[in-house]
């Protein structure tokens, strides 16, 4: 019984390991896009940009094909057949951004883009920002930052977007700080003003 169990586990694990290093077999994943992003952005981008699992869809870890339930299998089949845009795919091996690509381009256009992966960013809708960090998904894809991570993005763009969004709050805190320091300053001055008075009296006493 154990003899059976161990080999089974090990093929699964070894498969996952082999895929861990970006040697994803080109059966279902599309490493052209990853390679293109890595080249243009010079950032270490992995499969988790579009897939549920950082090692891509092949394997038996959560979010990979080897561990799908029957219902998820059905969703996967439906998503794979979404050749036209707006098919509302919900592929379990893709993350929200991956599904967003299939939804907005359709599988057919996407497969065409494999020949020119650098054009994917231009083909994506300009106004979609899935993580709401103020940088559009297409822009994030081009820069090699994660479109679903709010804390990931080009630092300057992120700073500007957040600054605009939080300006009222910052102004309130700024006003509070200024007021607080105004108050503190005068309180300290008040204490200081009473102090020399005692001294003078001391001097005056003898």
């Amino acid at each position: 019984m154990r003899a059976f169990f161990i080999p089974f586990r090990w093929t699964r694990l070894a498969l996952a390991c082999a895929l861990a290093l970006g040697a994803a077999s080109p059966l279902q994943a599309y490493p052209e896009f990853q390679q293109s992003v890595v080249k243009t952005s010079r950032r270490a981008v992995n499969c988790a940009l579009c897939h549920s699992h950082p090692d891509g869809p092949e394997g038996a870890a959560p979010g990979q094909i080897g561990r799908l339930t029957a219902a998820e299998q059905a969703e996967l089949v439906r998503a794979r057949a979404a050749f036209e845009p707006n098919a509302k795919p919900n592929s379990p091996i893709l993350n929200a951004f991956g599904n967003h690509i299939v939804q907005s381009l359709g599988k057919r256009r996407f497969l065409e883009l494999r020949l020119a992966p650098e054009q994917l960013a231009a083909a994506l809708p300009k106004d979609s920002d899935l993580d709401g960090d103020g940088i559009a998904d297409a822009e994030e894809y081009r820069a090699g930052t994660h479109p679903l991570l709010r804390s990931d993005g080009a630092p300057w763009l992120l700073f500007r977007a957040n600054l605009q969004r939080n300006l009222p709050q910052i102004l309130v805190v700024l006003a509070a700080t200024l007021l607080g320091f105004y108050g503190l300053r005068h309180l300290l001055r008040g204490f200081a003003a009473t102090a020399p008075n005692e001294e003078e009296e001391d001097l005056a006493a003898p």
Binding site: L21, A44, V45, P155, L158, I170, V173, T177
Partner: protein, 366 residues
């Protein structure tokens, strides 16, 4: 020397360093004066470090409400804080930014105190306690780095701990086994795992804070007892009252620092300065990802470590430690001009290694 004499000398030494007769409000606050000269800005850096430390205490306690120090939950709980807890991202981000700013201001404080010869008699022990505080601060940075348990954290910690073991090769005989044993004690098991995480958590949250509070108390007390050091060779022409004039300026600096910290914490996630795959949870079965490096405040030692033979670094480290702790006695008779040149040189080295370290590394390694 007779033991009695030694005892008396020790007593005299301590009495001069901790003058109990000055231990009153009037002397420590009321009559204290701060010299005004061209290096006066250096007097504010220590207070700034104190401010960032206080921010760290508050935000750290807040994070403690949600963080879970186990291998399976650590990364998930950090994610939970950033993505789900209201204002959690802000608190965590401020904690990250303030740690960096605290280390920066501690380093600035060290260099400026050195340049102003603030360690001269009777302030030797103030300096030594400051050097200890520097060590504790770096230890805070090192232990805190592991806690989120993502790829970069665990792998960088592994490398850092392995460096300790390397020292063994340069020690004679039986002693060569000691560093490995020390590493095992810190690490708690064969590789960096749950035991390490628990130990680092205990260090970061309980042991180091207790240590820093004790040393910081002694440091601040002796600063107030002795007053500010003169700072320049000529007698400063003007003095200002510590209370309220200097304190007010100090507090204003705190206010500016708070605003900068708040805006940074709100608007610029510290993590955005790194590549995202490194922030995935640690995966013990994968290869070490490219681009592993420690936090920026270890660059000054990290890049030389990459470029030079290990024993050079080791010797340099040892020398640095000795010089740092022995500064008050080594530089007893050095004038301030020389000290300033040394401090500027050290500051330039830190700056260049921190900013251009990677470029230099690629220049030599190709």
């Amino acid at each position: 020397m007779k033991p009695q004499q030694t005892l008396r000398r020790t007593g005299d030494f301590l009495a001069e360093r901790f003058p109990v007769d000055k231990l009153n409000f009037a002397s420590m606050v009321g009559k204290k004066e701060v010299p005004v000269h061209r290096l006066s800005w250096g007097y504010y850096l220590g207070g700034l470090a104190l401010f960032f430390f206080m921010v760290q205490v508050v935000t750290g306690l807040m994070l403690l409400f949600y963080y879970q120090p186990t291998v399976s939950d650590a990364h998930a709980s950090v994610e939970y804080i950033t993505e789900h807890v209201p204002a959690g991202a802000l608190v965590r981000n401020i904690h990250a930014w303030a740690s960096s700013l605290m280390i920066a201001s501690v380093l600035g404080h060290l260099l400026s105190a050195f340049a102003m010869k603030a360690f001269a008699r009777p302030r030797e022990l103030t300096w030594v306690s400051g050097a200890l505080l520097l060590g504790i601060t770096f230890a805070f940075g090192f232990t805190g780095y592991l806690l989120p348990w993502h790829q970069i954290a665990v792998n960088a910690t592994k490398i850092g701990l392995q460096t300790i073991e390397e020292i063994g090769a340069y020690l004679p005989g039986q002693m060569s086994l000691w560093p490995a044993a020390i590493k095992e004690i810190i690490q708690g098991e064969a590789t960096v795992g749950q035991a390490t995480l628990s130990r680092f958590f205990a260090l970061h949250v309980i042991i180091l804070p207790l240590g820093i509070v004790a040393v910081l108390g002694a440091h601040l007390l002796s600063v107030q007892l002795h007053g500010m050091s003169q700072g320049v060779d000529d007698k400063p022409r003007r003095m200002e009252k510590f209370f309220p004039a200097f304190l007010l300026k100090d507090l204003s600096v705190w206010g500016v620092a708070f605003m900068i910290l708040f805006v940074l914490g709100l608007c610029l996630p510290f993590e955005s300065l790194f590549a995202y795959p490194l922030f995935e949870p640690y995966n013990p079965k994968g290869s070490t990802p490219d681009g592993i490096k420690p936090e920026w405040y270890f660059f000054w030692i990290y890049y030389p470590l990459e470029l030079l033979p290990f024993w050079v670094i080791l010797a340099g480290q040892g020398l640095l430690g000795v010089v740092l702790l022995g500064t008050p006695w080594i530089f007893r008779n050095t004038n301030r001009r020389t000290l300033q040149v040394l401090a500027v040189a050290a500051g330039l080295y830190l700056l260049v290694m921190t900013v251009f370290g990677e470029t230099i590394y690629h220049l030599f390694k190709g």
